[in-house]
């Protein structure tokens, strides 16, 4: 093997190195406590549940805070958490939740319906972070405290997916938050690094840009299922994928995320490490501008869909991905398989469509915009150059920073011909994906195609207010078929979510509703 | 007058200089002696090899590009060329000291006079296996400055070189040279960079010091007048050779070598101001391909055939008067006829 060759080359140095090499660590046991180290690339500069979320932020939020409900398992399901049970009115407008009675915040205050009301109001007023999920359907006036342990939401309009949103609305301690209010900011400044939660972990050490350490709440109101549960964890920032790999290999980290597909395969074979591999819900697609330029022509769009080498997507992930077979992600509630209609590489057809469009030999250039630094998107761009080259279409790769890319995609006139988009459904309901094709989504990152089909929009609007799911399903079947036919984008793939664990880390439960690197640390325990 | 044995003897010193165009033969067999209490002036045009000779004595020439090809420099019967750097360090300043041309550039600009002098004094002491405290060294420095007539030496000793005038700086340099109480003082154009009035002061100072301490002096200058003011004997150099070596009186009364005569004629003289000043035609020859035979022959009005083939040696024409010129071949003792003494050049 190659590594042997290296060793031979530097055999002279080995003596010195043995003398000086640092010891490699395993799980940190500090004062008899089991502190796990999670090596991640993305920082969490603002952990206020009302202000922001992304995967790293939400992982910490999930540890520090509780919500009424919680997503677990794959396929994902919503389980009771702070709410023991709940009921909805038949028109899905009035929702009543009954809270557990023993929940308490980290400072000992009891968690009551008042706190729930405060938390929802705060998010709605601040209008940041998860606010968009309910901004259209819920106003502060619609939240009513029935008694200390009962809360009622009255929505402006029927909204069937309401309960699937709630796991992302965390409950904060109003007293703690408001004690730190400054200039009427509802404690925003303090909450960036503050802890006003009731979750299984509390804040310990916060070093921005370096690490965040959390410690387990010994008397967590829900208790701990496994006596070997971790006593805390360190969320360590390791910015380079290769460094992450070394860290898990050396045992400096107990869990890592986001290393390259090649590296995952490599560490999976190493002793003392296992790699989880579960299908995710995040879809990759190449959105095309449906209203401007060459891609306005559906024939060109179809030609591109037929020219694309879908297998290379799987290769990019070393086989750890599946191809989409519908505009909706496989595994999402409401998805149907359109195996026979979905586009697959067929150069013959692609050329036919090029002819139909009036460009039998291509001869034009399209822009492919992707996020600066996103490895996989870059690779897909390279595949695109290769594939479309065969149709005589040149592809210009334009990496942009995320805000610049979104800014360009926000208007029809500036939206690029092709744009690489990863999208994860935030909650488990077909509406969340269907709505991405609605006119109201134009200009958002998943709406950069500026998809234009009023019929689909109408169906989407109708479906989301129906309470009965089977009834809704008929609409979504139609929607999926219509979107596929319009080929607004190259429907790509869903990659597998993977983490590398040291073998003594147990209890990991995969749930595709969580974002890329996000792990629920509550059930994790250690078994040596 | 002065019959003490010689303490410094330079014998047939040949020094070459490697340049990219070839090897420059800058010193071509130069010989002279210096006795105790003797004062010898070395005179010649710029670039004739005077300074090289002086630096060679103290082992200060950079090697490479300089190469000492042959010769000896005997000091108290030891050949300085054979000495190690360490041994040379003991001799420098202690036994042979040097005063330089431009007092500005020869003083380190970033150290105070005090520091530089104390270093020198303590260095000498160390070579003599003694230790001198900084305080004592400072006192000695002040007394030396006093000896060279620097006003307020106690106040001025802490100053930096640039705070002194040119003449004062030269005095400082002389004081430093005297610090080791040397036997021989080599003064390399000590007054060239100074104003005429200051020049006279410095020359007078050197003269006084010689009287007082009975140093032997090797004074190097392009100016016959300067040499005449201090020295008893004089050596005239031309293109790496000594062409005439005699007493100061004889050189003025009876210059023998055509070059010496030319040199004397080119001195402006009030008494002769009606006559035209006469220079020597031509210029210093190329050192890389020097003229064969006598190096002066291309410029010489009396050149003969032999001059272009054979190099004349320095030979007595009368007592204490040695000249290297074939014009005086007849007065040579037979033992020093060129055919016998030197081989013709190839």
């Amino acid at each position: 093997m190659r590594s042997k060759k290296w060793c031979l080359m530097f055999v002279a140095d080995i003596g010195v190195i043995f003398l000086l090499s640092g010891m490699s660590q395993t799980l940190e046991i500090r004062d008899g406590k089991k502190i796990l180290v999670y090596g991640a690339r993305q920082p969490a500069p603002n952990i206020d549940p009302s202000q922001y979320y992304d995967w790293s932020t939400r992982m910490l939020q999930q540890s520090l805070y509780d919500a009424l409900l919680k997503y677990v398992d794959s396929p994902p399901k919503v389980i009771p958490w702070l709410a023991t049970n709940w009921e909805a009115s038949p028109d899905a407008k009035v929702w009543t939740f009954h809270l557990v009675k023993n929940a308490k915040f980290h400072n000992g205050d009891p968690l009551t319906a008042e706190a729930v009301k405060f938390s929802f109001e705060r998010t709605l007023k601040i209008k940041k972070g998860p606010a968009w999920m309910l901004l259209d359907v819920l106003t502060p006036e619609g939240i009513k405290v029935v008694d200390d342990y009962t809360i009622q939401f009255t929505l402006n309009q029927p909204y069937a997916p309401f309960e699937t949103v709630l796991p992302w609305w965390y409950i904060m301690n109003p007293k703690v938050v408001m004690a730190h209010e400054k200039d009427g900011d509802m404690g925003q400044e303090w909450m960036k690094d503050g802890d006003a939660g009731s979750g299984p972990f509390k804040k310990k050490r916060w070093e921005h840009g370096v690490l965040y350490e959390l410690e387990a709440v010994a008397d967590y109101w829900r208790g701990w299922e496994n006596p070997n549960h971790i006593d805390g964890y360190i969320f360590k920032l390791i910015r380079e994928a290769s460094s992450q790999r070394i860290a898990i290999q050396k045992g400096e980290c107990d869990i890592v995320e986001g290393i390259s597909p090649e590296d995952f395969d490599l560490v999976a074979k190493m002793p003392g490490i296992y790699v989880s591999n579960d299908p995710g819900l995040t879809t990759f697609g190449i959105k095309m501008n449906n209203q401007k330029g060459y891609t306005k022509d559906i024939n060109i769009r179809k030609a591109i869909c037929y020219a694309f080498d879908y297998d290379s997507l799987i290769k990019i992930y070393n086989g750890n991905a599946i191809l989409e077979d519908s505009p909706f992600p496989i595994g999402l509630k409401g998805h149907i398989s359109l195996k026979d209609k979905i586009y697959r590489q067929d150069l013959q057809k692609a050329k036919e469509y090029m002819e139909k469009a009036g460009y039998p030999n291509g001869g034009f250039e399209l822009e492919y915009v992707y996020v600066q630094g996103l490895e996989e998107e870059r690779k897909m761009g390279l595949v695109l150059i290769d594939n479309l080259g065969k149709l005589g279409i040149k592809v210009k790769m334009v990496p942009l920073t995320w805000p610049n890319m979104v800014a360009r995609g926000s208007k029809v006139d500036t939206s690029p011909d092709m744009i690489a988009i990863f999208a994860t459904p935030v909650f488990n309901d077909p509406d969340v994906v269907a709505y991405q094709y609605h006119k109201n989504s134009w200009g958002k990152y998943y709406g950069t195609a500026h998809y234009n089909n009023p019929e689909v929009w109408k169906l989407t609007e109708q479906a989301r207010v129906i309470a009965d799911f089977d009834e809704r399903m008929k609409y979504y079947e139609q929607i999926q078929n219509m979107i596929l036919e319009d080929a607004p984008e190259v429907f790509g793939m869903q990659y597998n979510r993977r983490w590398a664990f040291r073998d003594y880390v147990k209890g990991f439960v995969f749930c595709p509703m969580r974002f890329t690197g996000e792990i629920d640390m509550y059930p994790i325990y250690i078994q040596k | 007058m002065n019959t003490e044995p010689s303490i410094l003897e330079v014998k047939d010193l040949k020094i070459h200089f490697d340049t990219f165009e070839g090897t420059a033969q800058v010193l071509d067999g130069c010989s002279f002696t210096l006795g105790r209490g003797d004062t010898l002036g070395l005179v010649g045009e710029t670039g004739c090899g005077k300074s090289i000779t002086a630096k060679a004595i103290l082992g200060l020439l950079p090697v490479p590009p300089t190469r000492i090809v042959s010769g000896e420099i005997r000091f108290h019967s030891r050949d300085l060329l054979d000495l190690s750097e360490k041994d040379l360090e003991k001799i420098r300043g202690n036994q042979i000291a040097m005063i330089f041309q431009d007092p500005m550039t020869y003083l380190n600009p970033v150290f105070s006079i005090e520091n530089q002098m104390i270093d020198v004094i303590r260095g000498h002491a160390r070579h003599a296996n003694k230790t001198v405290s900084r305080g004592a060294a400072r006192e000695k420095a002040i007394s030396l400055l006093n000896a060279v007539n620097i006003p307020n030496p106690r106040q001025r000793i802490g100053d930096f070189p640039h705070e002194f005038s040119g003449g004062m700086r030269q005095r400082v340099l002389i004081a430093m040279a005297l610090a080791g109480d040397p036997e021989i003082l080599i003064a390399d154009e000590p007054t060239t960079a100074l104003d005429v009035t200051i020049q006279a002061q410095i020359l007078r100072l050197i003269g006084e010091l010689v009287e007082r301490f009975r140093h032997s002096v090797l004074l190097i200058s392009h100016d016959l007048g300067v040499v005449a003011a201090v020295c008893r004997r004089i050596a005239v150099m031309y293109a790496g050779n000594i062409v005439e070596l005699t007493t100061i009186e004889r050189i003025f009364e009876n210059p023998a070598h055509p070059y010496t005569r030319g040199l004397l004629r080119s001195i402006p003289n009030l008494a002769r101001r009606k006559e035209n000043l006469v220079g020597i035609t031509g210029s210093i020859p190329d050192f890389i391909e020097p003229p064969r035979g006598c190096r002066f022959h291309p410029r010489c009005a009396h050149r003969m055939d032999v001059c272009q083939k054979v190099k004349p040696v320095l030979a007595d024409i009368e007592s204490e008067h040695r000249v290297a010129c074939f014009l005086y071949e007849s007065s040579w003792p037979s033992a020093s006829r060129p055919e016998e003494r030197i081989k013709p050049l190839p």
Binding site: Q25, G209, I234 | F100, G123, F160
Partner: protein, 335 residues
């Protein structure tokens, strides 16, 4: 002297003013919409508007510009969209790491380069001189980031000899914060384990960062030494019997150090620039990494902040160098 310093400081202020203006203008050319980033991927237009207001991006350019200076007077450098913290807080947090790295690296360079430069001058055209010349020419040609990667490959990945990156081991508790420089703090508190750990971590990045500086300081020092060694006062020092070692090590070196100091001052600034690359490779939590991440996110307040901070550092360093000049060279007069 005092007047000179005041004059120089005024000039620094003037230059900084120009610098801020230039960077500010550049930053507003950006086509991106930073508020959208701050609002998050799913935000509605309304939510983006909230952010835009919060970051003051809804106001006219000139107002933003003026209010930047207003904020500057009270130490407010605006807010980072990416980290959501005040830029000044971020800088206070990240700068000590960069400062520790650059100063350590510079010291390393000076300690290695000056003796080497002297030796090369003394042994001119000998083996050491040639070796050092090859080293210094290649030192300036080596891409710093590549050297860093290769050293990581050998010293950290293949042989586990030094840590791969970071300022401290994963689980090492940072020392009590006094100066915020880990090496200094751990020494002050007598915490040897942390000191050793911090030292192990700083070695590779410091070495990489000092490499070009090492090369150029050797060069300059060698050239200056050669120049000084050929000067008359060296000859006279030697003629006065001062030993060779003393002549070189004291008489010549002090003269040669004066121009070398200029190079050292310049190099301090370039090193600060180099931290962009080195901190990226070694995951060193300093302002270089902060600047790169901000640039990639089109997050402009931090970039202006970093520019300002590095500008101040650079110019103050040069001022200090000029003042050291005065100590080394008595001929210098400040006016």
């Amino acid at each position: 002297m005092k007047r000179y310093i005041i004059k120089r400081l005024l000039l620094i202020f003037l230059t900084l003013f120009g610098l801020i203006t230039v960077v500010f203008l550049i930053s507003r050319v950006a086509p991106g919409d930073p508020a959208r980033l701050a609002a998050g991927p799913d935000a509605t237009e309304e939510m983006v508007e909230v952010m835009r207001k919060e970051f003051g991006l809804d106001r006219p350019l000139i107002v933003q510009y003026l209010s930047y200076f207003k904020g500057l007077a009270s130490g407010n450098l605006g807010r980072s969209i990416r980290t959501r913290h005040n830029v000044i807080d971020d800088l206070v947090q990240f700068f000590p790491a960069t400062f520790e790295l650059t100063v350590f690296s510079l010291l390393l360079a000076v300690v290695l380069a000056i003796p080497l430069g002297v030796l090369c001058a003394v042994y001119r055209d000998r083996f050491l001189d040639h070796a050092a010349r090859v080293f210094s020419v290649s030192g300036m040609a080596l891409p710093m980031f590549w050297l860093a990667l290769m050293l990581q490959l050998f010293l950290a990945l293949k042989f586990d000899f030094l840590p791969l990156g970071g300022r401290l081991g994963l689980l090492t508790e940072p020392p009590t914060k006094i100066t915020h420089l880990y090496l200094v703090d751990s020494l002050l508190t007598g915490n040897w384990a942390v000191f050793k750990d911090a030292l192990r971590h700083i070695l590779l990045p410091a070495f990489v960062l000092c490499f070009p500086a090492l090369a150029s300081i050797i060069r300059v020092n060698r050239a200056e030494m050669l120049e000084v060694l050929s000067r008359d006062f060296i000859v006279s020092a030697r003629a006065h019997g001062i030993s060779k070692i003393r002549t070189i090590g004291q008489y010549a070196l002090k003269n040669a150090l004066i121009p070398t100091m200029t190079m050292i001052g310049l190099r301090y600034g370039w090193m600060l620039g180099g931290t962009i690359l080195v901190e990226t490779v070694f995951d060193w939590p300093g302002i270089g990494l902060y600047a790169v991440q901000s640039a990639v996110y089109s997050d402009f307040q931090p970039i202006i902040g970093v520019t300002l901070l590095i500008g101040i550092n650079f110019m103050v360093a040069n001022l200090i160098i000029d003042l050291i000049y005065g100590i080394l060279d008595p001929r210098v007069r400040y006016e």
